[in-house]
Symmetry: C2
Subunit: 463 residues, 2 copies
């Protein structure tokens, strides 16, 4: 077998320098994990049910209730030591009827598609119409000042940077326009906000997501919506051509009282260190468009598959391995917050937590908290040769999942994330395009296997 | 910037041991190559034209003629030093009218979809009907012997192995059933051959491809077709349940006389070593189903993009960089064979040849000829840190492209291949599913940039 001979040779130089000796049983176990996932994996069947029989499932929807029941029931079938629900009070927002919008230029009324941003208020029943002012950053609003912004619709149009290889970094750089842009625009007297969709594609897909009003008083809130990159480019071109361009939009979204929902939790108790918890998770909810296939149906079914793999391989862990399927990531993070509060309240100790919430694409490796101690990285690094065989080359320091972020407590718990290839994620993120046909079963299964392999190593050797 | 800090640290240990010192100008150039591809890349626009305005383009079709004209014209617009056509005589095969087929079990006539295999003969006008015998290998036919095989339709049903991470290795293990199965079945007196589609999905997609009759006399040829994995599983289940299952199929394909077609070639002449050629290529033709988007529209537009990158960055190479867009890969390899004959005739020297013909998916790195000398691998290996930044971690010894394989002449020319991630390729390979919507522009551009970066390094430092 000539396959990957070179990679193995190359990486083996590292092994020689490493303190830890990988044993044959580790490579055998990691092989068994991968073969089980690729041959008997259930994740794609689960995801088919979630996307096709349940569908989009924003907090407060009957679909999210169904998602809670379904995942609890499926986890119960795995024969874990315990499966339970953790109550979570979480915000509810609904879109209402389909939005309406058009651009008004000198000679034309151009109908366009928009999506209200999650958390936005509605427009008045008759909609709002105002002159558009384009900006590329939040700072630009301050420079323009109240005089120029007041009474306008502020249009945030800074594109994601195509030169960053990890597209999450490009998203991180651009997304302030969506989550903070409307608030800042409101502070300067704007009457509405429009945000360019967060994607690297030039197309008609509209990508929603959360916005927030921070400390503003409710009477200061302004309605905020997002438009596709094609619409954004068209609007921007008109603004360069014409002295004055106006925009009309009408949206019927509503902020409701908080609702009761649940984190779904299942665990296999550890035999030697049951009080040290290794967490794997994703989030149950999705935006109300698309099917929530990659975001985050993938993370849910991969977390469940990790548990299924350990049960099927009759692996009894030293530590407690727990799958946590979080509620309400998209518009509140109340699942993650509630979970962390209860961890504190119950004095539970989490040695490690990993989340899959970057899509079900082919895994490249893992990302960890940048503040991880050097000694811990060294230890993780010494395992790389075992993972490179499965094309898992990246042990990055580029952050961790949102739902597990409330567990951050110094370096008591190592926080991480599955790192799937990121090129395709923002094509479908928070949009009608996030559907099952964008998911490849093997890529999904390889993600489960990657996380199970890492959990196995941490369970065996600690951190 | 914390991003990939660890990977850089990890790989830098290799650099210290390496003889070659990477200079800042190399990392600057590789950065410029990637940024140009990701920001100004033309590959996706070219591929849009190829898939939507030209479409499927089997040898001998008017679409392939159009493809030759279009790519020649687009290469001419790049301002290369020369662009020309190289005549190629190549086999022509046509599918004719849509095939018809059904399974005949005890109580049912079940209509199924099939595709004739490329190169197969037709059935008689009235079709053929015979009892089905299932085998899992060519060897199994020999074991069964003439008595059991004679008069039957042999059904090759060995699935691709899901446990191999690189799916091309699984394809390599299974594809003998398609390219040699019908010939061996004919040798043992079978009247027809059916082959399970070469894919890891369980679905209704049918994947065609070449078969051949080797040294058989034309009167020994038998018609051969392929069925989807769902149909194969159904047929196999029936064969287990019932004593006798028959199959009927009718196909109208035709083997024609050879036709004249062309390799399309463009080059930038080297300034110090013009007689040392670095080749980048793909193939112009595709099967007659789908749009030939990944196979191999991607390789064509990536090869053109490599040239576009060098011209746009005003890079004057030391050696001659040549894009070769090969004719007739799918059913004859006559483009590659003719090119290699002319290379020999004209005493041209190729230092390096790389092909992109594994899909336009996100690149993982490169694969090289397993017989490459140790010294050469060491040199390539010393460049890995420059590539890992772009998530190119694999410098594998797992073979090279088919079209460049006739250039093999000991180790005179290093042969290689772009290595895109392989998980999705066999979902769409040689099927109606190989369409533009399966291609992500950034993944395509990253493949062009990967090859341009490698060519730049080889151009500068030799091998």
């Amino acid at each position: 077998m000539k396959i990957k001979l070179f990679v193995i040779t190359f990486l083996s130089t590292i092994v020689l320098h490493s303190q830890s000796i990988q044993k044959q049983e580790d490579s055998d176990m990691i092989k068994a994990i991968h073969e089980h996932a690729l041959t008997y994996g259930k994740s794609y069947d689960w995801l088919t049910h979630i996307t096709k029989n349940i569908g989009a499932r924003l907090t407060g929807s009957p679909e999210l209730d169904e998602m809670v029941s379904y995942t609890k029931h499926e986890m119960e079938k795995l024969g874990l030591d315990s499966v339970w629900l953790e109550p979570v009070m979480a915000p509810k927002w609904t879109r209402g009827e389909k939005e309406e919008a058009y651009i008004l230029s000198k000679n034309n009324k151009i109908e366009v598609d928009i999506l209200a941003l999650g958390g936005s208020i509605a427009t008045p029943n008759t909609g709002i119409q105002a002159e558009v002012i384009e900006v590329n950053s939040l700072e630009e609003i301050a420079k323009l000042g109240k005089e120029k912004v007041s009474g306008k619709i502020v249009f945030f149009n800074r594109p994601m940077n195509p030169n960053l290889i990890n597209t999450f970094n490009a998203y991180g750089e651009a997304a302030d326009q969506r989550f903070a842009g409307p608030r800042v625009a409101a502070e300067y007297g704007a009457v509405g906000a429009l945000v360019r969709s967060m994607t690297l594609r030039q197309d008609d897909v509209i990508h929603t997501g959360s916005t927030g009003y921070g400390d503003l008083l409710p009477e200061q809130y302004i309605p905020a919506a997002t438009i596709s990159t094609n619409t954004a480019n068209r609007l921007s071109a008109l603004l360069k051509e014409e002295e004055k361009v106006s925009f009309f939009f009408k949206q019927n979204c509503e902020i409701h009282d908080a609702v009761l929902t649940y984190n779904v939790i299942g665990e296999i108790r550890g035999k030697t260190h049951p009080n040290e918890i290794l967490l794997v998770g994703g989030h149950l909810d999705s935006w109300d468009v698309g099917e929530g296939a990659h975001d985050d149906g993938a993370g849910i079914v991969q977390s469940m598959e990790v548990m299924e793999i350990f049960k099927s391989l009759n692996y009894t862990p030293n530590r407690t391995i727990r799958a946590v399927l979080f509620a309400n990531e998209e518009n509140g993070l109340m699942g993650g917050r509630t979970y962390a509060e209860n961890v504190k309240k119950n004095s539970e100790y989490h040695l490690f937590a990993i989340e899959s919430d970057s899509g079900g694409y082919v895994p490249r490796g893992f990302s960890f908290d940048a503040e991880v101690p050097e000694k811990t990285i060294e230890k993780l690094r010494s395992w790389l040769p075992l993972f490179a065989i499965y094309n898992l080359h990246v042990f990055d320091l580029n952050g961790y999942g949102a739902d597990i972020s409330p567990l951050k407590d110094g370096n008591k718990t190592l926080l991480g994330s599955l790192y799937p290839d990121s090129q395709r994620y923002f094509d479908i993120h928070h949009s009608e395009e996030d559907t099952l046909d964008k998911v490849n079963p093997r890529e999904l299964q390889l993600g489960s296997a990657a996380m199970a392999s890492l959990l196995y190593m941490i369970d065996k050797y600690g951190l």
